[in-house]
């Protein structure tokens, strides 16, 4: 299982996957010119992890702004987690936001809508 460590830029979030801990985290804004190039390795990593291990997977998100194609990519990841959850895998999401910007919490709620696995939306301490 490979680690994933994509550094943060002005227009892309930091993306870190740690298979040993079973955690995939994304922090920052996401409006890359080519969302496919950014997120395909992430989707591949999730697929690989879910296929090759039977360990739990936790997605830690701290995202502020997403452009439309990033919204789509994130929904694909969340859908894949739902599929895994239906097959009795332990998956969960935790979305942290800045209490000064409640809008982000509302957006996280919209993403959560179709997910039946544990999905916590919490203000950063």
């Amino acid at each position: 299982m490979n680690d994933l460590d994509i550094p943060r830029t002005n227009s892309t979030p930091a993306i870190v996957a740690d298979p040993a801990r079973g955690v995939l985290s994304m922090h920052g804004d996401s409006y890359p010119e080519n969302s496919f190039a950014l997120f395909q390795p992430v989707l591949d990593w999730v697929e690989d992890y879910l296929t090759k291990t039977d360990q739990p997977l936790r997605l830690e998100l701290e995202l502020l702004y997403l452009n439309t194609s990033s919204v789509r990519a994130l929904m694909d990841i969340l859908d894949r987690l739902e599929e895994a959850y239906q097959e009795n895998r332990r998956v969960s999401v935790i979305w942290l936001y800045d209490a000064a910007n409640e809008r982000v919490a509302e957006l996280a709620e919209e993403f959560k809508e179709d997910c039946s696995y544990p999905f916590d939306i919490m203000a950063k301490p």
Binding site: T68, V71, R72, R103, L107, E110, E113
Partner: protein, 260 residues
């Protein structure tokens, strides 16, 4: 039809079993025909059955496509909704940023940067279309004493109250900004010196009312300098002149308007 067929088949079978038919030369032919017919009939049944299975499989496939299509449409609608939400959030953040960069935090009046931009566009408008404008610089009298005696918190209350009084009394198209410290700069577009002088006097009276503070009412007065734009001059030149008018008002015992 099927019942009639069954009846006919029974009749043929009965004939074939009839001992009276045993020596009939047509019997073997009838038997052969009958067996062929039954084989063909069985084959037809199997074909129909297979064709039905294919139709069912096709129908299921069609349903799957349809479900998939509906799922994609729902997903697309959700993406659009979330994306709209993000755009809305960005617009709000932009507005907040705009307010932060053009407003004074304490008094919520336009700030120095904002009124300087307005002055530039006013001068550029006049250079193309003619006309005039006036500036007034208002300053709270003895503000340092208020601050030193009652503390900065009371000082802030006084500044805010005067700011609101000035903004309340200007016309819709005038601009009143916090220029810095206890100074307020007012732009009177399309206004001559005489009118501006009267407007400034009105503002002086509006601002000169006791301010209720945590430490009781405080009497305040303001001095105001007024000047009219002179064609061809720069922003700096008119600002220096309005400052001089204010200085003169201060020198003339304060609580008055001086026009230069």
């Amino acid at each position: 039809m099927i019942e009639e067929d069954d009846e006919f088949l029974e009749q043929v079978e009965a004939r074939l079993c009839d001992p009276g038919m045993a020596d009939n030369p047509l019997r073997p032919i009838l038997e052969d025909l009958f067996n062929r017919y039954r084989a063909q009939s069985r084959m037809l049944d199997r074909l129909v059955h297979i064709a039905d299975r294919f139709q069912l499989a096709e129908r299921d496939r069609g349903r799957k496509h349809q479900e998939n299509y509906h799922r994609k449409v729902r997903q697309l609608e959700k993406i659009v909704r979330i994306s709209d939400h993000y755009q809305h959030m960005m617009r709000e953040l932009n507005e907040r940023l705009h307010t932060l960069s053009t407003r004074d935090e304490l008094t919520e009046l336009p700030n120095r940067r904002y009124i300087l931009e307005r002055l530039e566009s006013e001068i550029s408008y006049i250079s193309r279309n003619g006309g005039t404008f006036c500036l007034a610089l208002a300053d709270l009298d003895h503000f340092k004493v208020i601050n030193d005696t009652h503390g900065h918190s009371v000082g802030d209350t006084v500044l805010t109250r005067v700011a609101h009084a000035l903004e309340h009394d200007i016309r819709d198209y005038d601009v009143c900004a916090r220029w810095g410290g206890e100074e307020f700069l007012i732009l009177f577009p399309r206004t001559t010196a005489t009118v501006a002088s009267d407007l400034a006097e009105r503002l002086r009276l509006a601002a000169t009312a006791p301010v209720e503070t945590a430490q009781g009412p405080i009497d305040i007065t303001v001095s105001i300098g007024v000047t009219e734009f002179r064609p061809g001059e720069s922003i700096d030149e008119i600002l220096i002149r309005v400052d001089r008018a204010l200085y003169q008002a201060k020198a003339e015992n304060r609580n008055c308007v001086v026009l230069i």
